[in-house]
């Protein structure tokens, strides 16, 4: 397990990130040339920065882990994470930029003129931010535990402390170039090892991902089980394992089937059988809705659009983001597939989220190349935790300091940062059992059932009233939040209730839209008087405005 290059790589990434955050502006912009100084951020840079902030631990580690575990069904995760920007591009990007709103609560105040609605939106921004922060810290704990052998809480605490201190002391103030750099770092950290892995796979004689007679261990492996499961051995025997059990397998021995994951070729390669049971289908639709519509409700993504000079630039930026994010999501899929061949033991331990960081050494051996690539991947993973957490923490601390603590001073912002950092840290230490991507999926579900209807109706329908918006957010978002809380804290469930709670978007999003429209129609008199002017501001082309 011990890779002596991992810790230096992680430390280097952290130091570089912190240093650029503090000194980057000074280095990049000491000039007396006004033409350079007043040049706005180009859509390409801005898009890379959005990508840098958006591609989180869930994308970097979680997607590959899910694909390793469940196969083709979960391809909707990367597809949805990328396609969310399509919905953002079509419905939200340009009008939101033209509105001049910086955060979602700002938009509420601007469109519906209600302070109470602003407060409600603030509560949801904070909840979504925290929910999204938890898996980042979880991923950090997992990565350090896997690569450096430290206990799980260490990684989570380290990242939480670094990010909180950095944001509180004024580094990482959404510096576009730092975030853009993070995107390219993450892409490199996945792409370069992926090329080596593909070559290795080629030279190994292209072993089948799903051999007809089941997967086998390529090397002698000792597995320490970390999650309770039932194994079905090759000879048909079943074996119940508990966390802490150690199993040894010889080279060439077939991999036992593990309960709760996709095992056989058909199970893994084909979509789950929709005919026998609608639950899988419902879950898939839920996932698609949540990821497609949830992206527009993520607080740290929306604030980035403010950097664009006008609506047209916002739209171009979104288009570039779509391309950049789309390219990135090809890579975790490759890791998930190759993980099936080189690291089947992860299915038994249950730590599938670690596949990205373990794969280079597993496939290329513990030689210098393998260790270097593993260190690179680990550095990329840490870049993912740091950039996403910083962006989220800045957003959450911003709304806490302005909307909860009152007009923000520097001290208020610091206090808010500490509050915003402590809560998800405590949560992350207690929910290590959940899949990273699933928690992120829940954050998307909450965003899709609260802010998506608000933004879409607020921008495209004159009839929305503050009462309607508040009711929709409370009912739809509230239902999603309840589902999340039950999933994270409540008892395990089975059957339809479990599906409805685990993937709530397919019923909470339509619910939120329906309530919002119905209550708005019932309270038609409360529609803001200056709606015509607001709509003109949102939709008139930029050229007409000056």
């Amino acid at each position: 397990m011990g890779n002596d290059l991992v810790v230096p790589a992680i430390v280097a990434v952290t130091l570089v990130t912190v240093a650029i955050g503090f000194y980057g502006l000074r280095l990049a912009r000491t000039t007396s040339d006004f033409l350079v100084a007043s040049r706005v951020v180009s859509p390409t840079w801005n898009a890379a920065a959005i990508g840098g902030e958006y591609l989180s631990a869930a994308s970097f580690l979680g997607v590959a882990g899910l694909i390793l575990k469940y196969g083709v069904d979960v391809l909707w995760y990367p597809v949805g994470f990328a396609a969310g920007y399509l919905a953002l591009l079509l419905f939200v990007a340009a009008p939101l930029r033209r509105s001049g709103a910086f955060t979602l609560p700002d938009f509420c105040e601007l469109r519906l003129g209600s302070r109470r609605l602003r407060t409600l939106a603030t509560v949801f921004v904070i909840f979504i931010g925290w929910l999204y922060l938890v898996p980042q810290l979880q991923g950090a704990g997992l990565t350090l535990a896997t690569l450096a052998g430290s206990p799980y809480p260490v990684g989570a605490l380290v990242v939480a402390a670094v990010v909180t201190a950095n944001v509180a002391l004024g580094g990482m103030r959404a510096v576009t170039f730092v975030q853009a750099f993070q995107y390219w770092l993450k892409l490199t950290a996945l792409a370069v090892p992926a090329i080596f892995l593909a070559l290795q796979w080629q030279s190994d004689g292209r072993p089948a991902v799903t051999p007809p007679d089941g997967a086998t261990f390529r090397t002698a492996t000792t597995v320490v089980v970390e999650q309770q499961a039932v194994l079905t051995l090759a000879d048909g025997q079943t074996l119940e394992v508990r966390p802490g059990d150690e199993l040894s397998f010889a080279e060439g021995e077939p991999v036992p089937e593990v309960s709760g994951v996709a095992n056989g070729a058909t199970d893994w390669l084909l979509p789950s059988d929709a005919g026998s049971d609608d639950r899988g289908l419902f879950g898939t639709y839920s996932l698609i809705l949540a990821t497609f519509l949830g992206t527009m409700g993520l607080p740290h993504v929306l604030v980035r659009f403010y950097t664009n000079p006008d609506g047209a630039a916002a739209r171009r930026t979104t288009l570039v983001v779509l391309a950049l994010v789309g390219v990135f999501y090809l890579l975790p899929t490759i890791y998930g597939v190759l993980g099936r061949i080189y690291t089947p033991q992860l299915l038994i331990t249950g730590q599938t989220d670690a596949v990205v960081v373990l794969l280079p050494e597993a496939a290329l051996g513990a030689g210098t190349t393998g260790r270097l690539l593993a260190a690179l991947v680990a550095a990329g993973a840490f870049a993912a935790f740091l950039s996403t957490s910083s962006g989220l923490l800045t957003s959450v601390a911003g709304v806490i300091s302005t909307d909860v603590l009152g007009r923000g001073s520097v001290r208020g912002f610091r206090l808010a940062t500490v509050i915003a950092g402590v809560v998800p840290t405590v949560l992350a230490l207690n929910v290590s059992g959940l899949d990273v991507s699933q928690v992120v999926g829940l954050a998307f579900a909450v965003a899709a059932s609260s802010f998506c209807p608000l933004l879409v109706l607020g921008i495209w329908w004159r009839g929305l009233t503050d009462a309607g918006a508040a009711a929709g957010i409370l009912v739809g978002g509230g239902a999603a939040v309840t589902s999340v809380l039950i999933t994270v804290l409540g008892p395990a469930m089975t059957g339809w209730p479990a599906t409805l709670i685990a993937q709530p978007a397919a019923w909470t999003v339509p619910l939120a839209f329906t309530v919002m429209i119905a209550v708005s129609l019932a309270t038609r008199r409360r529609a803001p008087a200056d709606i015509g002017r607001t709509m003109l501001r949102l939709h008139a082309p930029d050229a007409l405005r000056s």
């Binding site: 007396s32 006004f34 007043s38 955060t103 959404a174 000079p309």
Partner: protein, 408 residues
Amino acid sequence: MGGNISAVIGVFSLVSVLAGALFAVGRLRGRRGIATPGQRATYEVLHTAGLAAEPLRAGLNPAGAAKAARHLRTLVGAEGLALTDTDDLLALDGRGAHHRDQLRTAARRVIASERSTVLGEAELTCDRIDCPVRGAVVAPLGGASGRITGALVAVTDGAPAPGLVQATLETAHWAGSQLALAELDSSRERLARAEVRALRAQISPHFIYNALTAIGSFVRTDPERARELILEFAEFTRYSFRAHGEFTTLAEELRSIDRYLTIERARFGDRLQVRLQIAPEVLPVTLPFLCLQPLVENAVRHGLSRKPGTGMVSIEARDAGAECHITVEDDGVGMDPATLTAGIAELAGSTGDPGDDPGQHVGLSNVDERLRSVFGDGFGLVVETGVGSGTKVSMRVPKFHPGVRAGS
């Protein structure tokens, strides 16, 4: 069974007929006389209120408060009535003069807690045997935007009755709204004044004169440069004389400052050094039209005048979460902070006697006033200066503020 139902219907119809008759009688009576007791009461209350409103509309001052207190006392129906501002008792009408101190402390408490209170005999002890004062009701006076500007105290002979408490609260509420209107009037005046000053501050005649002279000196030696400078000057005046729009973006403002500095550099040559640190993220921030340029003009004037050698002007705009922090700094001779404060206070008064450097104060206080009126009192200019140590002017601009929009 059938009898029962018909009895119920009978009773019901009887009751509804009775109710209808009562209603009709009430309506008819309401229409008949010109001066019913109710109407008379309404007239009296409104008349007294009108009398009290007039002095209140001038704001809370001792003279106005003394006039208003008399009418307010009639309105509340108390034995004594006092008005206070946030720290002192302004006027007292009727009884309770020797309880002044107790009433003042009570009023301060009420203003601090923003909640009305009732004083009983225990809190109003005094050593005069014939003192009739037994209780008082203290209610806060709310000004514009919910800020508490003072308190109203009703003094009574008996224990304060619920009726008195209610009357006092309502009267305090009404008086508070009159004060808010007064504040509104004064802020409208301030706004008008700021606008006038903004027009005056937009472009300094000295600058036009100096710019044209500098350009003139190039016409023979370097016609190409002179041509460029004239174009820059034209663009600069076009922006500064722009008639529409109260707001602009930081990018636009910086572009205009660039033109200004180009012209100034033609005049000063290498004596003028400029250093810039602009975070590109904050370029789209919306801010009041021409609120940065006067600061740069000041810095240039300050950084170079009365000082040999080169002068450095640095402009910095940083991204700070939901805000943008802008500073303009020069390494000139600086000034005594006391002079600056005095200058601003004097100008805020009325005429503004042109001292040795009048544009300085006009520019700063004008920008300060406009920033405050747009974003709120927390967003004024911060000036750090001292004799011989340069000047640094900083401002905070929120990235979003309802009602602020570029190009409107």
